[in-house]
């Protein structure tokens, strides 16, 4: 079974300030972009990252073949329970997510 990272050109995550995490999915071409538009729903991201749907934002940027998700961090950056100060490893969860085709 393929993973998201098998299909797309690049996935990255990073803090957007101390309170938000943002994930950029560079699909590479229109075909993969169209496919990922179907696969990567807000519901899927909310479930992978265990975050509420109502504050999760999804952006489609067809000119770059990019889908972007932003949501408030589960733990504020640097708080006692934070495990990833820059939020840059969080993208692997989506990268390793299995997709059907």
């Amino acid at each position: 079974m393929a993973t998201v990272s098998d299909r797309v050109a690049n996935i990255r995550s990073k803090n957007a300030g101390p309170y938000w995490l943002t994930i950029d999915i560079f699909c590479g071409d229109t075909h993969v972009y169209q496919q990922m538009m179907q696969e990567l729903s807000k519901e899927l991201i909310a479930s992978i990252y265990q975050v509420p749907l109502d504050t999760l934002k999804r952006f489609e940027i067809p000119s770059l073949n990019v889908i972007k998700f932003s949501f408030p961090r589960n733990t504020v950056q640097g708080a006692r329970l934070d495990r990833d100060m820059h939020g840059a490893q969080m993208s692997v969860l989506l990268a390793e997510h299995k997709i059907d085709n």
Partner: protein, 453 residues
């Protein structure tokens, strides 16, 4: 008219290509602007009012920039001095500049712009309804504000321009938005406001908007209708993709960037290659807001930490590491209660398994059996003495605690002695707010200095 801004790198302390800097100076910029800070490395730096980067790194790079400025004879601006942009960090950069002025034999007029906020002022502004929360809402009240160690307000282009307009050769600014130092002069000269802010966002990380991210140096021409951006390093290129993609970087909304006094909108922006290395961007919009607001950042101490580290290499323990953590955690809670008479709320012991799920915790989906497992114990308490005492109490058990009662006493690997390390205070970010100002300089202070005269 057009305003040429040279951006040597995304942050002072990270390094840049010196040949590219020289090429940038040859291009005759109108201003050299670099950022010195970020919240990206956590609340410690604002909490302690200190720099993430070494003084030696900052001084070596600042020396190269002061020498370059001497050739270009244009203002050199650094924003968010010393990572956090507190008053003490502006003075730290002033001291470095003073030393370099003597070493290099330079006469310099320096403007220092201070962004730090007095706790009493913040409290009064909160009570006056001038401080409003952003999403996600972090609750503050007049009482909890007292516990904040440092508060800074993020300056925008107006305050940077006030500093430049003193006629300073060098501007050392406290906390500012990443973009303010780059957009300021173009805005003051009446270039297109949308283009100025968009150009600044694209170049705020230096050559990250190009095909050679680590080369640092980029230049941008901002004019009445748009901007053109190009990297200075040999072989580096800006492409419509590398440029437009940077708008996404560390920004929750890819179409909008909020700044003091308004917002940049780039949804209608158009990107095209001008030549092999340069990209032209038009169509960016600046929407002025009704009120002039600045973002606030604050950090405070929430406890003190001690850590311990052990390594499990014995395959039996590696395989059962999670069960072992559950058992030892349960045991430690009882021991701390009986030996130290502490309640569960007085301290926290958290054990993370490096090699199992230390990065992602409960979100981890992968399971495999590693060769060895690092056991990181984080102890948090209200004083350093207490966290150290708890860590010392944990030490022998972390070394020898068995998986079951009926097996030989294990002894794990400690990588150093003592096994405990005091981390000092644990800080947290505690403000996600904007403050309404009557006029831009209300929360900021400006001083000028003649160096080596």
């Amino acid at each position: 008219m057009s305003t040429r801004v040279l951006v040597p790198s995304g942050v002072l302390g990270l390094g840049f290509d010196h040949n590219a800097l020289a090429a940038g100076i040859e291009a005759k910029p109108d201003i050299i602007a670099i950022d010195g800070g970020s919240t990206d490395s956590g609340p410690f730096y604002l909490g302690t009012s200190s720099s993430k980067y070494s003084r030696a790194s900052c001084k070596a790079e600042w020396k190269a920039l002061l020498k370059a400025r001497e050739v270009a004879k244009v203002p050199l601006v650094i924003t968010s001095c010393g990572t956090c942009g507190t008053d003490a960090m502006v003075d730290w950069m002033l001291e470095i500049t003073r030393e370099l002025a003597i070493e290099l034999g330079l006469k310099l007029k320096v403007a220092t712009l201070y962004s730090e906020q007095k706790i009493d002022v913040i409290k009064n502004q909160l009570l006056a309804g001038k401080i409003n929360p952003l999403q996600p809402i972090i609750n503050i009240d007049a009482e909890s504000i007292d516990s904040i160690d440092h508060v800074v307000a993020l300056a925008g282009a107006e305050q940077i321009n006030a500093a430049i307009q003193t006629g300073a050769d060098v501007v050392l600014a406290g906390r500012a938005t990443d973009t303010a130092g780059i957009s300021a002069m173009a805005l003051a000269r009446g270039e297109h406001a949308g283009a100025a802010w968009h150009a600044a966002k694209i170049t705020e990380c230096g050559a990250l908007c190009s095909t050679h991210p680590t080369s640092g140096v980029v230049a941008v021409d901002i004019d009445a209708t748009g901007f053109s951006v190009w990297p200075l390093a040999e072989g580096a290129r800006c492409t419509p993709h590398s440029v437009s993609a940077h708008m996404l970087y560390e920004n929750a909304d890819p179409h909008t960037l909020y700044e003091p006094g308004g917002a940049l909108q780039v949804e209608q922006s158009h990107y095209e290659s001008v030549d092999a290395v340069k990209v032209r961007v038009t169509g960016s919009e600046w929407l002025e807001s009704d009120q002039y607001t600045v973002k606030l950042e604050g950090a405070r101490v929430v406890g003190f930490q001690s850590t311990l580290m052990a390594i499990l290499r014995d395959a039996h323990y590696v395989k059962n590491a999670k069960a072992w953590v559950a058992r030892i955690s349960n045991f430690l809670v009882k021991e701390v209660a009986s030996r130290m008479q502490l309640e569960a709320d007085d301290y926290k012991i958290e054990i993370r398994l490096i090699g199992v799920d230390a990065t992602l915790g409960e979100l981890e989906t992968k399971q495999s059996i590693p060769t060895e497992v690092g056991v990181l114990v984080l102890v948090t308490a209200m004083t350093q003495e207490l966290s150290e005492e708890i860590a010392k109490m944990i030490d022998p058990f972390l070394l020898h605690y068995p998986l079951t009662d009926n097996e030989a006493l294990p002894t794990f690997a400690f990588p150093y002695s003592p096994a405990r390390t005091n981390r000092g205070a644990l800080y947290e970010f505690c403000l996600n707010h904007i403050m309404v100002l009557d006029e831009p300089m209300q929360a900021f202070r400006l001083t000028t200095h003649e160096l080596n005269n």
